[in-house]
Symmetry: C2
Subunit: 329 residues, 2 copies
């Protein structure tokens, strides 16, 4: 049986459904070329947190869907993870990443050429799972629009690289696309496939967006606060690539002149420059203030979850979200 | 008004519909970033032959679809071109191509990073157009399967690169995927959206596959027979990239020992090596024999077109296919 991230050991119900999602994804990515299939399967089995299908499943449990709908729920939940995997495979080309979750990336193992098409292949699997899960063309349409927003978020982030005039709004807009959109979709669709009432479906989408924004902000803060060992990926990576995220944007707003001489070095930032940059951020309380802003989105998400009807599934949703977004980073 | 390739000047009816397709594609690729939008629009307007939507439209005219279905027909026809454009954008990353149809590629103008996501964006537009065109999830499903076959064809071609043991069957399998699949889909869907009878829809798919195979074989032959000026792209490009196509496969079958010393040079083939290779191919009649094989698929396609009911639309289909596939290369 496929193993999930150990965080799910405490939630055996969700864990069982997540395993079903992963097994379905593996089944759908069976291809003739066993070498490439193996690399993709390793990525699928690499114990990512599976947050998108997990939120899908949690919201689906708020509704009254009958057991008959189970296969559709698993297929649609799986589709959210597959779109995420497709963007990871394409991200790894862009970052020229050698490792992802401890495994060799498709890019490093089979070359950029194969990675481009393998990511595309995952996009076809994404729509295949969706079309398996639903007869509603509106749901397909919703997904094409969401996918577009994810990609435009990524493209905006790229075209704003090294722009020291970047504003909080531009940043927010970009993470709403590249990350929050897929969380929003997962929660919305979960409630939809779970046959929740229309107002619950709408609210689920809003909750998902707030979770997604907070999640990305916390991830962006981590890049400045963690050691490479704890994060199991390189740190201070964003700023080297010209991706200026929340802490740095707050720093630029507070004292642009202090940061500019460092940022003007662009890709040439040395380790000592990076240490100076982190020191400057701490001097201006940027990490703390970034946490404060993320906190607002977390609180919004938690408050909205509380407004949902009282049922055991709501408690899991609440606890999980709180744990996920407030654990000691 | 968007201009089409001059080949359509003789077919004003089809031309008008193709213009409608292009205008719809441009509308759907409106994005915030005007720089990238401009590059994509330039590609859309670059007067490609539009064979996939053209075949879609020609087959749709064999049926009895009412005027009310016109918007759906245009959207679905456009979707076939958009999938083609997505693969072109991703191909240009892989080939590191600077130009495509005389325009700077997305890759060369905005970098590989943007090109990966812009290609993905076109895939989302592809499914958006499809979901606009139909309420049938089966048609979406058919497209996910076709897209998968296209990508697996591309991946197979890559993983077989520089393999001097490549067989005709492997080659045929690869071009059935990467090229013929989308022609098959376009013809099949055209007949479907035109509300043809089930047996005509099936036959249209088979015709499309034969057209696609012949089209790719002729394109592969061109790489060996044309001057760069006539082809407006580099020639003898395939063999340098380790893509061994029909003429060379016939050569290897006929006299492997003669070709091996050249092919073993891999990427290091000099211009004089290439000239030797072409001479060897002519010595073994490989170009002529490759034409003969392509001819079989052309004849099959034309014979099947003749079997369709007698109507003026059939004549256009026949003449166009004959012209397209037998013009003096």
């Amino acid at each position: 049986m496929v193993k999930t991230h150990p965080m799910w050991d405490d939630y055996p119900n969700i864990q069982a459904h997540l395993v079903a999602c992963l097994e379905l994804i593996i089944e759908k990515t069976t291809i003739e070329n066993k070498d490439i299939e193996k690399t993709v399967t390793a990525l699928i089995e690499s114990q990512g947190k599976l947050l998108r299908p997990a939120y899908f499943l949690l919201f689906s449990q708020l509704g009254n869907a009958q057991k008959a709908a189970y296969d559709n729920i698993i297929a649609a939940a799986a589709s959210t993870e597959v779109l995420h995997l497709a963007t990871l495979i394409h991200d790894d080309i862009i970052d020229e990443a050698a490792l992802r979750r401890g495994n060799e990336t498709v890019h490093s193992k089979h070359g950029q050429d194969v990675a481009v098409y393998t990511g595309d292949l995952m996009i076809s699997v994404y729509f295949e799972l969706l079309a398996d899960a639903t007869d509603s063309v509106e749901i397909i349409q919703l997904n094409t629009q969401s996918m577009k927003q994810v990609l435009l978020g990524e493209i905006n982030q790229m075209t704003n690289a090294y722009d020291t005039a970047i504003t909080f709004d531009t940043y927010l807009n970009s993470i709403k696309g590249k990350t929050a959109q897929l969380f929003e979709l997962s929660c919305y669709e979960g409630a939809y496939f779970g046959q929740c009432k229309p107002e619950v479906i709408e609210q689920s989408g809003v909750i998902g967006q707030n979770i997604g924004i907070a999640f990305q902000m916390l991830d962006d803060i981590l890049d400045y606060t963690q050691t490479p060992e704890n994060l199991s990926k390189p740190v201070l990576n964003d700023v080297k690539q010209g991706i200026y995220t929340l802490p740095l944007i707050l720093g630029l707003e507070a004292d642009k002149d202090a940061f500019l001489p460092l940022l003007e070095k662009g890709e040439q930032l040395s380790d000592s420059d990076l240490a100076d940059l982190v020191a400057l951020l701490h001097e201006h309380d940027c990490i703390e203030r970034a946490h404060g802003i993320a906190r607002e989105y977390i609180d919004k998400a938690l408050a909205l979850i509380e407004q949902l009807l009282d049922q055991p599934e709501k408690e899991v949703l609440y606890t999980l979200t709180k744990t996920l977004l407030t654990k000691d980073y």
